[in-house]
Amino acid sequence: MNKHQWQTFTLHNPYLFSLLLLVIITLVNLFVQPDMFHRDTINNNMRVFLPLILLAAGEAVVILGGGIDISVGSIVSIVNVILATQVGLQGNPQKMYLMMGFVLLVGMAAGAINGFFVAYMRLQPIITTYATSFLYAGLALFILPNPGGGIPQSFSSFYRDTTPLGLPLAFFIIALILLAWGFVQQTRYGRYLSAVGGKADAAYETAVPVSAIQFSTYVAAGLMAALSGIAVTMLVSSGNSTTGDQLTLSSITAVVIGGTTLSGGVGGVAGAMIGAVILGLIKNIISFANIDTWWQTFVNAAIIVVALAAPGVINLFRRKR
């Protein structure tokens, strides 16, 4: 296969590598967790994976548009502490619904701040979102200095036990997002996104509203981070200002494993969601593999680095040939 054919091939099949990896990881996971396909196990796994899946989907949109957002984890934290402090274990459902609506707005507002500085002030995305990540993390810590708070029991059990049509709730949420993404790709907005991420100045010359598109990707990521924060809160049913800290790198890794290039323009949300599932399964395997607790953080991080390195290693070999 020559260079051009390879390029066309990989451009048309950005998910290929991640699907292959998904199959392998699933097999390994099946080996350590034989009842993996049991309904309850799937439900258990999926509700743990869901927050990262949602976050990765949002991060994918930003990266596809040529940016990056390393503040998404902090947005998750803000959402988590708002829900945990404002609703409370004894809070009534109306209050919970109200606050869920409110945190979605908060997420979008946080995304809008990122988007404003990156798209309209034309600052570098990495350093901008690094700065705002501190801003947001500080805000989360300000709202909830010590871990605590909670949400009504009914919401946690709803998140845990709802299985419409015998399928985990997470499946429906994922399906909904995939449908939405599928629709977006059929619209001008989807084209604009690839164009802006692919070559922003050429897109500009073709009258694509580059800044508005860039701005919108950060708002989308903020919204997805808020959804992710709601899911996390329902999962752990308590508040902690560091909830999202570890999620940022995982979400970027999921996007990379999912076949989206960090330079933008190629890839998509579906791949990122597959990537998030892969990361979740890897964590699963590690916890089943009886690794000494002290080693778990290291193994986890090392696997993330290896996963990030994988596309580079493949390229290295391809160039050698």
């Binding site: 390029q7 066309t8 048309h12 604009y192």
Partner: protein, 506 residues
């Protein structure tokens, strides 16, 4: 609807560099106006101002007699102005159809893009060039995987798809082959009859005389002449482009070089050099020889120079100064005495925000010890600066402030500091003013007389004819023909450049 557009006294500055100081252009419906000028004269800048990509710093644009201020490319497009860009405006990762209809996709109900209609409309557009491209070009292929000529066709179709009233063709023919150019000209004639106004930006004289009705010549950012094509000949245009000096003097004749190579040894012996693009090149370069490389743009000249400089993987053997070499990186090549002046001065030759001193000494810092002996470094830089007659405010000034010619002197200077034995030049006079060009030719002659071997690619045929005794004409990754002595004539050079159509030329 008839259209008239005029640009009056347009001024544009980039940082400290003035790209346009007094540019003028008038174009009306149903005519083709050629915007002519040497490289770097401001042609592209003027066309970017007309289509709203670049903001003008002074002067005005009048559309149908109305004072105009375009706030964006979008605004210009809404007024019916469309451009074929020299640097393509295509998104590499997207397909041909997606690129052509970007931002104007026909929609079905619910905001969904009508893919079927896009494909049909793209097919219809591609039909305009039917028969001049390979079957691999179809609406659903990704743009990255296309060769340069087909990318150019897509770019043209993209501009046409707007059904513009004014179409700007900025060097649109540069990477097209002769059949494609032929087809484009047929289309241009048709569009002209349909009442479109067309601005044709080029420096290919023959094409200009074939297609244009009127001309407007730019020189160093100033419009120096306008009129009807039928009133002038090539010589008139050229003398407008180069100014006072006559066209003949623009290139000093080969007497200046006066090469006597009988008896000199072979400095570079290349055998079956292959890269992804080059298809087995074999040639020799003598000590002190100025060997020209010709051909249309993008025929492998760049690959050849990069491979010789160790920046591109290759197979085949290279014998340099009697020694078999295979450079794996530029540093190895440099340490053996090879130097490269790359084609894109701004992107590949200079460190823009750094000082002249640092640019001049970039390859040589290692030779000034630790801690770096700055005084000695400055002395060297000043010495080479005066040798090259480099006009600068001081060594510590950023290189951004220099004119094209002086900036190129810095690029050449950084290599001369190292006393190379083989100098590889990739179109070094692009965007360089006439005076500096003449200096540069004298410099080359002197260096060759001192025993430096030079491999000289130029996109300017006159330059090759004037300076070289021997020219290798490249076409599609091959050396199509070696021209020397009697056979080194303009018509042979052009014929060999066109490659495939050589038979038809004879």
């Amino acid at each position: 609807m008839a259209l008239s557009l005029s640009a009056r006294n347009v001024v544009k500055r980039y940082g400290g560099v003035t790209a346009l100081s007094n540019a003028n252009l008038d174009v009306n419906a149903g005519e083709v106006v050629a915007l002519i000028g040497a490289n770097g004269s401001g042609k592209s800048t003027l066309s970017k101002i007309i289509n709203g990509v670049v903001v003008l710093d002074g002067g005005q644009l009048l559309l149908d007699g109305q004072f105009m201020e375009f706030s964006s490319p979008q605004a210009a497009k809404n007024l019916g102005i469309s451009t074929v860009f020299q640097e393509l405006s295509l998104i590499p990762q997207m397909t041909v159809a997606e690129n052509i209809w970007l931002a104007r996709e026909p929609l079905k109900r619910g905001g969904v893009i009508d893919r079927k209609m896009i494909r049909e409309k793209s097919d219809a557009l591609l039909n305009l060039f039917a028969g001049t491209y390979k079957s691999s070009l179809h609406p659903d292929v990704t743009v990255t995987s296309l060769p340069p000529d087909e990318k150019q066709i897509v770019e043209i179709l993209k501009a046409v798809s707007f059904d513009p009233r004014l179409l700007i063709l900025d060097e649109a023919t540069a990477s097209l082959d002769s059949r494609q150019v032929e087809r484009l000209f047929e289309l241009v004639k048709r569009w002209k009859q349909e009442g479109k106004a067309i601005v044709f930006v080029s420096h290919r004289m023959e094409e200009i005389f074939r297609i244009a009705d009127r001309y407007s010549v730019l020189k160093n950012g100033v419009t120096v002449g306008t009129g009807a094509m039928k009133d002038v000949n090539t010589k008139d245009i050229v003398s407008l482009m180069v100014g006072e000096e006559s066209a003949e003097n623009a290139v000093e004749r080969k007497k200046a070089v006066a090469q006597n190579l009988s008896g000199s040894s072979v400095e570079l012996d290349v055998n079956e050099l292959r890269t992804d693009f080059l298809k087995g090149l074999t040639f020799q370069l003598h000590k002190g020889e100025l060997l020209g490389i010709g051909g249309l743009k993008g025929q492998g000249q760049r690959d050849l120079l990069l491979a010789l400089f160790g920046d591109l993987k290759y197979t085949g053997s290279i014998n340099f100064s009697g020694e078999l070499v295979h450079f794996k990186n530029t540093r190895q090549a440099m340490n053996k005495g090879v130097a490269l002046v790359p084609g894109e001065r701004a992107k590949e030759g200079l460190l823009f925000i750094r000082s002249i001193l640092e640019n001049l000494l970039l390859p040589s810092w290692g030779e000034y010890g630790f801690p770096t002996r700055m005084r000695k470094a400055r002395e060297s830089a000043n010495r080479i600066g005066s040798t090259l007659n480099l006009k600068m405010a001081g060594l510590d000034e950023p290189v951004t402030g220099l004119s094209g010619g002086n900036a190129q002197k810095v690029v050449i200077g950084k290599w001369l500091l190292r006393n190379p034995r083989l100098l590889l030049l990739d179109d070094p006079t692009k965007g360089v003013d006439v005076g500096t060009k003449a200096e540069f030719y004298r410099l080359l002659a002197r260096l060759c007389a001192d025993g430096l071997s030079v491999l000289f690619y130029s996109s300017d045929d006159e330059e090759l004819l004037g300076l070289c005794d021997r020219v290798l004409v490249m076409h599609d990754g091959n050396i199509r023909q070696e021209l020397f002595g009697e056979t080194l004539t303009k018509s042979n050079l052009v014929a060999a450049s066109l490659g495939a159509s050589r038979e038809s030329m004879q």
